[in-house]
Symmetry: C2
Subunit: 143 residues, 2 copies
DNA sequence: CGTATTTCCGACTACATCGCTGGGGATGCC
DNA sequence: GGCATCCCCAGCGATGTAGTCGGAAATACG
């Protein structure tokens, strides 16, 4: 798959939080985990990463949980992915020094750029809209 | 990096072979490996994959080696990558059944599609041209 | 104040994959 | 026959991924 489990789990959690954001909504790890069928002790780590990356805020203690640090429209998926995909450290691994390797490196650059363009052009709000639309047509189908 | 070492090694080998294709050129594993600084016993496996994928032909015995199975313009990079990236089997790993996971799956689909579009729109000839251009400007720089 | 609830932090394990090495066989030119 | 070359597959160490766990810190609530 294109995303690691870490990234997928983080993104669905953000979607859950975005859905209730207008109410300043807060959700707990265990809540999200059980709703989505994710191991909660694992999800914990993703949410911690997102907090460190300023994408979430956390509230400790009873009735605590997580909430978005800013409105969904201002959260770019690119930032979320960077935050979750561990460190991008040494992404540009010293390619071999031959014209052939350089050409391949160029192609890789173009691929990466295309991916980045999509991720930067998509906000959490966009995904939320997509979800709502999907939910809507599910209801239609039901009738 | 966007490509695994396998894929990179395979692609540079194809570039080497493409460069001498007009002469119906044949190169041996050891030859390519030493030119590009790749472990030869490893490269062997990639070239074997490419042969199985009908992208290369092999000639056994002394003075043997590998050659392109068809002209570089007719070799799509997408096919090469599929051939080298192991089996694409179970690429659509059973995503969780929740609207949120489905939305993420949709995004992943768009990413994959963008990547595929580039890879399908690029032929070995395209990369060869790029290499030659790079070589050309290197000479200019030299003067 | 004490306790329960929740996040926080870091270590640990099991498993798969990746990059690479090696042994020995098949093929075919000389 | 002998040597060069491809062919097949087995194994190995390092790394990363997905997940588990123990316990410490914060804090609401009675």
């Amino acid at each position: 798959m294109a995303f690691s489990a870490k990234t997928e789990y983080g993104l669905v959690s953000l979607l859950e939080l975005a859905a209730i954001h207008p109410q300043g909504g807060v959700l707990q790890v265990a809540e999200i985990a059980s709703r989505q069928g994710i191991p909660d002790r694992y999800l914990e780590q993703m949410l911690t990463s997102l907090r460190r990356g300023q994408i979430l805020r956390s509230i400790r203690g009873p009735r605590g949980g997580y909430q978005l640090a800013r409105p969904p429209a201002e959260i770019r998926i690119a930032d979320v992915v960077i935050c979750l995909e561990g460190e991008v450290a040494s992404r540009g691994t010293a390619a071999r020094q031959s014209p052939e390797f350089e050409v391949i490196g160029g192609l890789e650059g173009r691929l990466e750029q295309a991916r980045q363009a999509i991720l930067e052009g998509t906000s959490l709000q966009d995904l939320l809209d997509e979800r709502d639309q999907r939910l809507q047509s599910q209801v239609m189908y039901f009738i």
